[in-house]
C-alpha cells in the first residue's frame, strides 16, 4: 500500500511538475469587482468599483527568479464605459503556486486616469490543456487624470477572477 501511495505521489508530482513549468508566454482574461475608496480634502467616500475586464498577455523574462512581463487592455463597465491599458511585472514564487504582480494602469477614454496596481493571488490547473483558473486580490490607486474630482485620489480593492492559457 505504501508503494502504491508513493507511486501515486510520484505520478501526481509529475503532473504538478508539468504545471509548475514556467511557460514562455501566457494569455489571461480577468474580471475584477470590489470597492472603491475616494478621498481628498479631509473626507472619504466608499462605493462599489466598476467591473474591470482585463485582457493581458505575459512573456517570461527569467526562470529564476520566475519573472514575467505583462501588458494588455483594460475596460471598465457596469455604470460607465472606459478603456485603457495596463502593464507590469509578475513574480511567481513557490513553484508558481502564488503570484505577485505590480504595474501601472492608464485609462485614456473618455476621460483619463493614471495609477499603480498591485495584486497577489493563485492559480489552479484546469485539466491538461494548459488552462488555469486564477484568483487575485488587487489594489489599484488612481492619483492623476482629468476624471478625478479636484484634490482627490481613488483606491480600488477588487477580487479578480480570471482564466489563463499557457503557451509552450
Amino acid at each position: 500500500m505504501i508503494l502504491a501511495t508513493l507511486g501515486g505521489t510520484a505520478q501526481a508530482d509529475g503532473v504538478a511538475a508539468k504545471a509548475d513549468e514556467l511557460p514562455l508566454w501566457d494569455a489571461e482574461l480577468r474580471f475584477g469587482y470590489g470597492v472603491s475608496v475616494g478621498g481628498g480634502q479631509g473626507m472619504t467616500t466608499t462605493r462599489t468599483s466598476p467591473l474591470t475586464i482585463t485582457a493581458v498577455g505575459a512573456v517570461a523574462l527569467s526562470y529564476e527568479p520566475a519573472l514575467a512581463g505583462w501588458g494588455g487592455l483594460v475596460v471598465e463597465t457596469l455604470d460607465r464605459t472606459a478603456v485603457g491599458a495596463t502593464a507590469g511585472i509578475r513574480f511567481t514564487p513557490m513553484l508558481r503556486k502564488i503570484r505577485l504582480s505590480a504595474g501601472g494602469v492608464a485609462l485614456v477614454a473618455p476621460y483619463t486616469l493614471y495609477g499603480g496596481t498591485a495584486a497577489a493571488g493563485t492559480c489552479f490547473g484546469l485539466g491538461d490543456v494548459g488552462l488555469r483558473a486564477c484568483a487575485d486580490v488587487q489594489m489599484t490607486a488612481y492619483f492623476a487624470g482629468d476624471d478625478l474630482a479636484p484634490g482627490s485620489a481613488i483606491t480600488q480593492v477588487q477580487l479578480v477572477l480570471g482564466v489563463a492559457f499557457d503557451g509552450p
Binding site: L6, G34, V35, D79, A135, D146, L148, S152
Partner: protein, 120 residues
Amino acid sequence: MARDLRIASRRRAPHVLARLVTAGALVALGLLALTASGCNTTACQRHSDCDPGLVCSAESVCVDQPDAAIAGDAADADPTEGADAAVDAMAADAALADAAFDAVPTLDAVAADAAVDAAP
C-alpha cells in the same frame, strides 16, 4: 522511503500556501461584500460618476459645471486680497491725512504772513 516522504512533504508546502491564499481571497471577498453593502452610492469620486453635464466637486457631490467653476474660482481666489485692499485704502487715507496736516498753516506761519502783510 523517508527521503521520498520528505520530498513529498516539501512539495506539499506550496499547496498549503495556495490554500492559505485562497482562504485569504475568500475572506477578502467577504470583507468586500460587507463594505460594498454599506457604500454611499450617491457620493461621486470621478466626474464620470455623475450624469452628463455634471461634474464631481471636491466635496464628492455632483454639481453643475458653472457651479463647479465658481466654486473653483472661489477656492482659487486669494483670501488676503480683500485685506490687502483694505490696507492699501488705509495707507491712502493716511497719506491724505498727512497731506491735509501739511496743508494746515501753523500759527507762527500765519503770524509771519500777517507781519509781512502789515509791513509797509
